[in-house]
């Protein structure tokens, strides 16, 4: 996890107070190379700077009014080298699902501390997915995992496998990846693999409930 070199990060948020606050809060593992306040500025800046990670606010002015998800769609050509971590004050399901399905590698609330954000940046840069407890709870709900729906193989996109469900439940209970690993007697790497698999399902699944959920409910 501890890269010898620092990670380049671009902060995209329309509030300068928040940008400067976050900038001051992030620890030494990340270096803020640029800031953008609107959709168009963000797309341009990301294209030019190609940072390792983009911290992306869900609600953004400008562009076609699509906010963070629009930035993701317009930068999709860079998705292999640039990772996106969504940040928001809201836990509303449609916001979460919108950015995750547009390609964000994780979702973190703005209430998280600078250390948490830095750790999440490092994880996302390393190719892992970042799940907050709320996002995990949402996934369990949206995939019908609570009601006991389970896929036979881990390939099926519309359901979680048994192991994925267990991992999600621990994350929802507030366990860190390391703690989940020790609870399930598996390695942290395996936990990360499961979480990435769930993220992929969340992004690609055409499960009807996902969209219904997103519009009908709000997580607060």
């Amino acid at each position: 996890m501890n890269d010898p070199h620092t990670l380049d990060v671009v902060i995209v948020d329309d509030h300068s107070i928040f940008r400067s606050g976050l900038r001051a809060d992030l620890d030494a593992t990340v270096r803020v190379v640029g800031e953008a306040a609107t959709v168009d500025e963000a797309v341009e800046l990301i294209e030019k700077l190609r940072p390792a990670v983009v911290l992306l606010d869900v609600h953004l002015p400008g562009g076609a009014g699509g906010g963070g998800a629009e930035v993701l769609r317009r930068s999709s050509a860079l998705m292999d080298s640039v990772r996106f971590l969504a940040l928001s004050v809201s836990d509303a399901a449609e916001d979460v699902v919108g950015v995750i399905r547009a390609g964000a590698r994780g979702y973190i609330t703005k209430g998280s501390s600078g250390r948490d954000v830095s750790e999440a940046v490092v994880a996302v840069a390393g190719g892992d997915a970042v799940f907050s407890p709320k996002l995990a709870g949402f996934v369990l709900d949206a995939f019908g995992a609570v009601a006991g729906e389970q896929s036979e193989s881990s390939d099926e996109l519309d359901r979680l496998s048994g192991r994925e469900r267990e991992v999600m439940r621990y994350i929802a209970r507030g366990y860190a990846y390391k703690e989940v690993a020790s609870e399930l007697y598996i390695s942290v790497k395996t936990v990360e693999t499961h979480v990435s698999a769930v993220l992929r399902k969340l992004q690609l699944s055409s499960r009807h409930e996902l969209t219904v959920w997103a519009t009908a409910r709000k997580l607060l």
């Binding site: 609330t109 501390s113 709320k134 995992a145 439940r169 703690e179 989940v180």
Partner: protein
């Protein structure tokens, strides 16, 4: 001139004869009301000066403060609308007499008086009596209905007795006017609804705008304050309470207020956060539990209180519910407790959590968090179907 006595304010009373102008003036200059009324009549006879002054005062003197919801509510003892209807009726009788040949000269003025008084009766009933609780809807209907009837009857009979083009035109115009008078309350009501609806929409739009602004800027700032101040500080606690309040206000209209156990636990979390340096992260998955067993909610509260008192910091709560089972996990990162080493007189965990859940037919387990950090309380209750 030398009296320094405080004069009552010049304001019209809520219970009046016609408009309350005379009573207001009388109270203000401490004369008797009949004296003022007499003066008003006398000055009116002097070229209408009194009437002008009366109307001017009526328009400008404010009403006394209201004690009811309808701030235009005034009770009037003189039935002006009915008096106008009666004058209209008398004028109509005169019109008939003139039309029957008593005197052609007076017919047209009498007809004009009929039209004017009837119109005034309807206008009074719609504009003034609407705000008078002592005048019911039936009173208004009678006033407006009889005005219209008088006009129609009057014009038809004139036309029938003296058929001519002019009379025909006048009759038609009067009948149209009468129908319009009858339809007037509908139109007034519709107009009122339209205005009210527009006001409501403007208000809603304004609210949404304010909400969007607050959501974007104030919530962010509050989040930032919490970050920078650290979870356990007083400042973060205040900011968090404020954030919660603001969120409730912002999303108030979005969801119907539910009484499910998740909402209950959320409000408990909010209450505890006010008193202790703790932050609850409440996550829920599964179906809504409409009437959760009281024991579950109280045991959860007890577990949350323990976490707040002994651990503080970040506490995770996860509620998972299916149709038959509700699981609640409360996890803190404090020093941790061992049930076996607790003194026997510590009733918090043993009684309020474990005992309570057992009596309700559920289970409560307490264990060290992962890696020996903190405590996790697991409450589980199955519905007896």
């Amino acid at each position: 001139m030398t009296t320094a006595a405080v004069r009552p304010l010049l304001q019209r009373p809520r219970a009046a004869a016609i408009s309350g102008v005379c009573a207001a003036v009388a109270a203000h200059v401490s004369w008797s009301v009949p004296k003022v009324r007499f003066l008003a009549v006398v000055t009116t006879l002097c070229g209408g000066a009194g009437l002008l002054l009366y109307l001017w005062l009526w328009a400008l003197v404010p009403l006394a403060p209201s004690h009811t919801d309808n701030r235009r509510e005034v009770r009037r003892s003189v039935p002006i609308a009915m008096m106008l209807v009666i004058s209209s009726g008398i004028a109509a009788v005169l019109v008939l007499l003139f039309a029957l040949g008593a005197g052609q000269q007076g017919r047209s003025p009498a007809l004009i008086v009929v039209a004017l008084t009837s119109a005034a009766a309807v206008a009074w009933s719609l504009a003034v009596d609407r705000h008078d609780p002592s005048r019911g809807t039936r009173y208004g209907l009678v006033a407006r209905g009889s005005s219209a009837t008088i006009i129609i009857a009057c014009s038809l009979s004139v036309w029938a007795l003296q058929p001519s083009i002019i009379n025909g035109l006048i009759a038609t115009a009067l009948i149209i006017a009468a129908v319009a008078l009858l339809a007037a309350p509908r139109i007034v009501a519709l107009w009122g609804d339209l205005i009210a609806e527009r006001t409501a929409r403007v208000r809603e739009e304004h609210r949404a705008e304010v909400a969007a602004h607050l959501h974007d800027s104030v919530l962010q700032t509050l989040a930032l304050i919490q970050n920078r101040a650290g979870v356990s500080t007083e400042i973060a606690r205040i900011a968090r309470a404020q954030e919660r309040e603001l969120r409730e206000w912002l999303f108030e209209g979005d969801a119907a207020p539910t009484t499910d156990c998740v909402a209950e636990i959320r409000s408990i979390a909010a209450a505890i956060e006010l008193d202790y340096p703790v932050r609850f992260d409440v996550v829920a998955a599964g179906e809504l539990v409409e009437d959760a067993p009281v024991a579950l909610v109280s045991a959860t509260r007890e577990a949350m209180l323990n976490a707040a008192r002994h651990a503080g910091g970040e506490v995770s709560i996860y509620i998972e519910s299916t149709a038959h089972v509700v699981d609640v996990f409360v996890r803190d990162r404090g020093p941790g407790v061992e049930l076996d080493t607790l003194p026997a007189d510590r009733l918090g965990i043993r009684e309020s959590i474990i005992g309570r859940m057992t009596r309700a037919g559920g289970t409560a387990t307490l264990r060290r968090g992962s890696g020996g950090v903190g405590t996790e309380v697991h409450l589980r209750i199955e519905e007896q179907a």
